[in-house]
Symmetry: C2
Subunit: 405 residues, 2 copies
């Protein structure tokens, strides 16, 4: 089986190294071509800067897209699929946006589009989820989907350092990018949660701009210390529930009890969980990023293609609607002005510089928090997932009652 | 695909219920026969007390062995395989003993023998391990493989209750058998660890009587309290390492730091971990027992057979030898007499009624502990896995040095 790598950064190099391992040499895998940027030095005989050369090479069976970003990754993946090449990628941004298109084009061309490495790196999460779905409906997915933000929160907690200090350390260690926004503002988690929900509910999440996302950019040492005194660690969670034909979806800081698995997920590890009817709660823990764990997941997909192991078929066309208000929970807010009036419709408790808002829907909370941020751009909030309750009277039902009355 | 259930206890009933689910009805699975004990009332039309009737039914594709124990399970599985029926089972005792024989007979008859549910119940552990092995050598497996013993230790810790009180509660809740020996003395864990090591190292562990196993029957509330003051929770672990062509294997109580995943594995949950060269540490957490999680894993195997998804091929004939002395760690011992002379070859620290033995090999420790138990049958010990080190000079090397000198 002949493999072309698009890109030779961390993931591309990792795949190249793993395929060269003694144990893999019996499997008949070869990297036959490597796409590099034009102008870059061709240090290996397989290297080329022509995508056309790869796409038109009839001997290439699998294309591994390891460029990252939206374009040209999107265009190259489509070209490869349309030239009857299987495609494997770890690129969550492009998958979150185009999963349905890639799947449709792959099906039309009778080839595979596999992407285990895109969520949770080396953790066999996508297949774990797909396997659970063979038997169960999955009504909750949650977890720590991003190692960089978890590393920052973990270090803030363990070393009593400020957000800025730890971020700078993470950048030096190569755990965080120079522009850390995707990791700390929750965009990376939102992509991974979107892919997971697409599969779990067999839908295509579009219109993602309206989905509630709140990152950890504003967290302070004093917040971490205060929450620890209350028995909690702060974690940046991705969370989605399904209830009948509606789902919610949120990325936000969450206060996790010290004896929870989430609170005990250290450093740059990931923890991803699902809940199914018969399987119950199932958790996957491991390295969510890094050269070899991620490359391992890419090679697992290549082996599945070679062994003709079908992944779960999805057409992403179920009628399940997003609803920001099907679940409610308690939140805690820190702002430099009095927020009590803004949240006056809810039971409030004040403690030190924090206000606890009792049983507010996720959608409502994030909307009100936008107002808070307008007045105090450094304000912070966190949810308390232990207090999550199904919203007994959803907004829609209230409207209906109004009409009936 | 027509399925025969041997046995209609917890697992058999669970499989029956899951296959009747709406989501499963599209998969074309049917339970066509159920073997019950002769004399029992046939409450369902599929029921029979004749194994011959099932074995000779050419329309049965898959036999699910859910009787438990060694015989007649072993004989029935062989008969089914020899009649070209696929076999799925959750019966760890019979697999730990006969995995190689079942695999050989299944291969000869071109049918499958699958057993995901045997280790970790609903946790996709066997496949997770098999998948890791496609790319990596796995050099460490560890975990909390038994929910009953974990429930007991968790309750002792949380409620400050005695071992006997919690055991009695677990028996009332149905978490523990009337004869709890397999769970609390480590036999159940030993079976699951044996199956895992057979697969990981591609060996057949025989001569299991000599393998070191120490259960939790002797643990006291005061031990739990003392270890907690030191920052540890006690967990009953199964643990195996591989080093070159040798492996070790132990079931024993272990002191786990409060912020470890193991210490935060509550109630009757399981946590099973592997370490691979490229994948790193990968952990699986979930319900290790119970009707539906276990039955879910059985049905997953049935679906793999239906979809012709091959599991990893193993012939269990690698030349890897058991060595009780390749790793060493610290231990703590409680006995009602002075054990310092017994352990005089090791650095010792005494504290309260406990003696810490510094860097002793697992094999040596368990041998010396046999002497301790002869004098004090209520003595207790626990390992400190944080202190594990490769035995730099193994016994074999010492012998060789002697010969050379």
């Amino acid at each position: 089986m002949r493999i072309a790598l698009l890109g030779f950064g961390t993931v591309g190099k990792g795949v190249y190294e793993i395929i060269k391992k003694a144990k893999m040499q019996t499997q008949g895998l070869t990297v036959s071509r490597i796409l590099i940027r034009s102008g870059k030095k061709k240090i290996l005989p397989e290297m080329t800067d022509s995508i056309a050369e790869i796409i038109n090479d009839d001997e290439v069976d699998v294309v591994v897209e390891a460029i990252g970003g939206i374009e040209p990754a999107h265009a190259y993946i489509l070209e490869a699929l349309n030239h009857q090449k299987h495609v494997v990628t770890a690129n969550k941004a492009v998958i979150a946006k185009y999963l349905k298109e890639f799947t449709d084009v792959a099906n039309k061309n009778h080839v595979k589009f596999y992407f285990e490495a895109s969520v949770g790196g080396g953790i066999p999460w996508i297949q774990g989820l797909e396997k659970a779905l063979r038997i169960d409906n999955v009504d909750c997915i949650s977890g720590i989907f991003n190692g960089t933000s978890n590393f920052i929160l973990d270090q803030m907690s363990k070393n009593n350092q400020s957000f800025a200090e730890v971020l700078s350390k993470a950048q030096k260690l190569g755990y965080a990018e120079n522009d850390p926004s995707a990791d700390i503002d929750g965009v990376d988690i939102a992509n991974k949660l979107c892919i997971s929900a697409d599969i779990a509910y067999n839908i295509k999440i579009s219109d993602r701009d309206r989905l509630p996302i709140f990152g950890i950019r504003n967290i302070r040492s004093e917040d971490v210390r205060y929450f620890e005194r209350k028995g909690y660690l702060v974690k940046l969670l991705g969370l989605t529930h399904k209830l009948n034909n509606e789902y919610d979806y949120v990325v936000e800081p969450a206060l996790m009890r010290k004896d929870s698995l989430e609170a005990n997920t250290p450093g740059n590890y990931n923890l991803i969980s699902l809940n199914g009817e018969t399987i119950g709660k199932l958790d996957f823990f491991g390295q969510g990023a890094g050269m070899f764990p991620t490359a391992n997941a890419v090679v697992q997909d290549i082996l599945d293609i070679k062994e003709n192991k079908q992944h779960l078929e999805r057409n992403f066309d179920e009628k399940v609607q997003y609803d920001a208000n099907i679940f409610q929970q308690d939140y805690v807010v820190r702002a430099n002005f009095d927020v009590k009036d803004l949240f006056k419709d809810f039971d409030l408790i004040e403690e030190e510089q924090y206000v606890y808002v009792h049983q507010i829907s996720v959608g409502k909370m994030h909307k009100l928090m936008d107002f808070v941020l307008e007045k105090d751009p450094r304000a912070f909030m966190a949810g308390l997932p232990d207090t999550i309750q199904k919203n007994v009277i959803s907004n829609k039902e209230i409207v209906n009652q109004g009409v009936i009355a």
